[in-house]
Symmetry: C2
């Protein structure tokens, strides 16, 4: 087979944050779907359902979050729910605050729905609070979007102290905190930190999904929020997608009932933990002068290359070296301080999703990256 | 069990156009899901997929419609596709034309996306062409939405001559015709009439789904359109729902491969044809003076009660008589001629979905209706 890279081997993809394909539990899901489709509800889960989602799934989640089932909306993946949230909450002229950098598709969604999206610099323990207070002094946002655990893209976990500061600010300035926690249970070491909703549920909207924990193609995401907000979002969901995909939602319930969720989560951690270790080790070995937040879980490590170099053609040079990267600029929203050279934001930012690569691929990938940026 | 109606029996629901629950092929779908999840693609259909939809499904549909696979977009049910279409095509100040009456959720979707929705009176063989030409002389619409076969709600099938007139007008005035054909293959008698796309595919967007042909909860709808439009809609789909629900889409392919689609369609027709016959017979028996379009397929018959009576409390009176009806006003868009007493449009319009009721329930339901309106 002819090589497509200078290194004489297959290109290595540090692009999308996808699960390892070998970790997708196709046999278990097949078993669950068969059980629910051939069980007593087999026909009713093929009929039009209520767009709040499959009630047993909402009940299961409501127990996990200690809320009522009418505080739960199950949607077609968490991006779908973010889009619905944006449609409902963003009015013309509104600002949405995000961590800087943040999840590229979230930034894009908030912009498409009409918001000016402003990034608050993310430090190794969460956003810079002085910058956030400065932003809040200028304008109260429609909401602030946070990925508090193993952030996408930076891998940062917001500290307990900063979480408390965030809910205090949300209460004082009266805005919504949207906490997106798809990676939260994929913790490979250290101790879990309370959710924003655990600290103050009045201003918190929690969004998550089973994409990283069972399978992305099931498209089962959910949202926890106050009842009145869930009611409005449910009506909007019904207006746009009419009814839920009940069979996959029922399969998720069965996956829990049979104990597969717990065992699958354990398998995922055992598969991914060495991959995190491999990327941290490789970065320390091959890029010893580049500082980065060392994550304790999730899918991502990210690095910021030294600013003095010109990384405008980073992607092209990486590709030549057999390395496929995502354009770092997509993770950057508008800066609060307009003075910075705006269009170059993120040019030297590299997200490194590590879960879908073997430790060997990870080491080789970082080696190639070091050769490109050296 | 205590009765909830004057008639001393269970209420009869003439509300949503849903399949008969006994017609939902749970065993066959279970078999298909098991086959695809335990087959060679079992893991890849659990991964993030391309939002055009599962490629083998797009290929299967592209053969049916004699188009290329890149003219196909598979979405989360056809309302989802109508929402995407509306987001892309409707600009501020735009008009969308619909048949009067039309599908209530479509009207609502076009309005939510900012259109002024104008209804062109529907006759027993399709829209009134004089009224349509008058509307087109006033303003070229973003698109016209048509349900050409066994229309929802009226049961009308647009004649071949009017279909030709529609594509001619679309070509002359340069607007999109959106033909929504979820019921088309559920023809219980008579001969099929060419699609709008068969007459002229340049201005036609065809939307359909498997909700009525396999199961609504699979949420598999699709759209056929020119490549450039499909590209834009696919990008928008990716921005809003990120990835397709591949397992259900793969199950639909398997359902065809195994010959289940053909046999299931035959079973549906055998189940539904007597129900259509029952409702037509009951209407002729119990409401002999009310004219209606006699459908040759689909899910709906509708009647318009004599205008001289006051039907403002029709739903309430029907409920008392053990009959649950849908508010007819939802099926009516703005009239082209503003002179008509607008807010009363549809008050005397009754949609009667007949597929999910037994012939006995249908007869009893129409008997109750006749008692209410007599």
């Amino acid at each position: 087979m002819q090589s497509t890279s200078q290194g004489g081997s297959e290109p290595i993809l540090f692009t999308r944050g996808v699960p390892a394909v070998e970790a997708l539990p196709n046999q278990l899901i097949s078993t669950c779907l068969q059980a629910v489709l051939e069980g007593p509800d087999g026909r009713s889960i093929l009929q039009y359902g209520h767009n709040g989602g499959y009630l047993p799934l909402r009940r299961l989640l409501s127990e996990q979050y200690a809320v009522s089932a009418d505080q739960l909306l199950v949607g077609n993946g968490s991006l779908h729910l973010q889009d619905l949230l944006s449609a409902l909450l963003i009015k013309p002229g509104d600002v949405v605050l995000v961590e800087q950098p943040s999840y590229d598709r979230a930034i894009k969604t908030f912009r498409r729905r009409g918001a000016k999206v402003i990034g608050i610099p993310l430090e190794h323990d969460g956003v810079n609070l002085q910058a956030l207070e400065k932003a809040l002094a200028q304008q109260t946002p429609a909401f602030m979007y946070i990925v508090p655990d193993f952030q996408n893209p930076a891998g940062v976990t917001t500290s307990a102290a900063k979480r408390q500061a965030l809910v205090d600010l949300a209460a004082r300035h009266n805005f919504w905190l949207v906490e997106d926690i798809p990676y939260r249970t994929l913790r490979y070491k250290g101790e879990s930190i309370p959710l924003l909703r655990d600290l103050d549920d009045r201003h918190t909207i929690t969004v998550s999904s089973f994409s990283k924990l069972i399978s992305p193609a099931l498209r089962v995401g959910y949202l926890v929020a106050p009842v009145e907000l869930v009611k409005k979002l449910t009506a909007l969901a019904e207006d746009t997608t009419l009814a839920p995909v009940l069979p996959t939602q029922a399969a998720v319930v069965e996956f829990h009932k049979r104990g597969y969720f717990a065992s699958n989560l354990e398998s995922l951690k055992q598969l991914y933990a060495p991959r995190l270790q491999a990327i941290v080790q490789a970065l320390k070995t091959y890029l010893p002068n580049v500082a980065f937040a060392e994550p304790e879980g999730g899918f991502f490590v990210s690095i910021t290359l030294p600013e003095q170099n010109d990384y405008s053609d980073l992607l092209a040079r990486a590709k030549q070296a057999g390395l496929i990267l995502t354009d770092g600029r997509g993770f950057f929203a508008d800066p609060l301080d307009g003075s910075k050279n705006h269009e170059h934001l993120g040019e030297n930012f590299v997200r490194l999703p590590f879960c879908a690569l073997t430790p060997e691929q990870i080491e080789e990938g970082v080696r190639r990256l070091a050769a490109v940026v050296a």
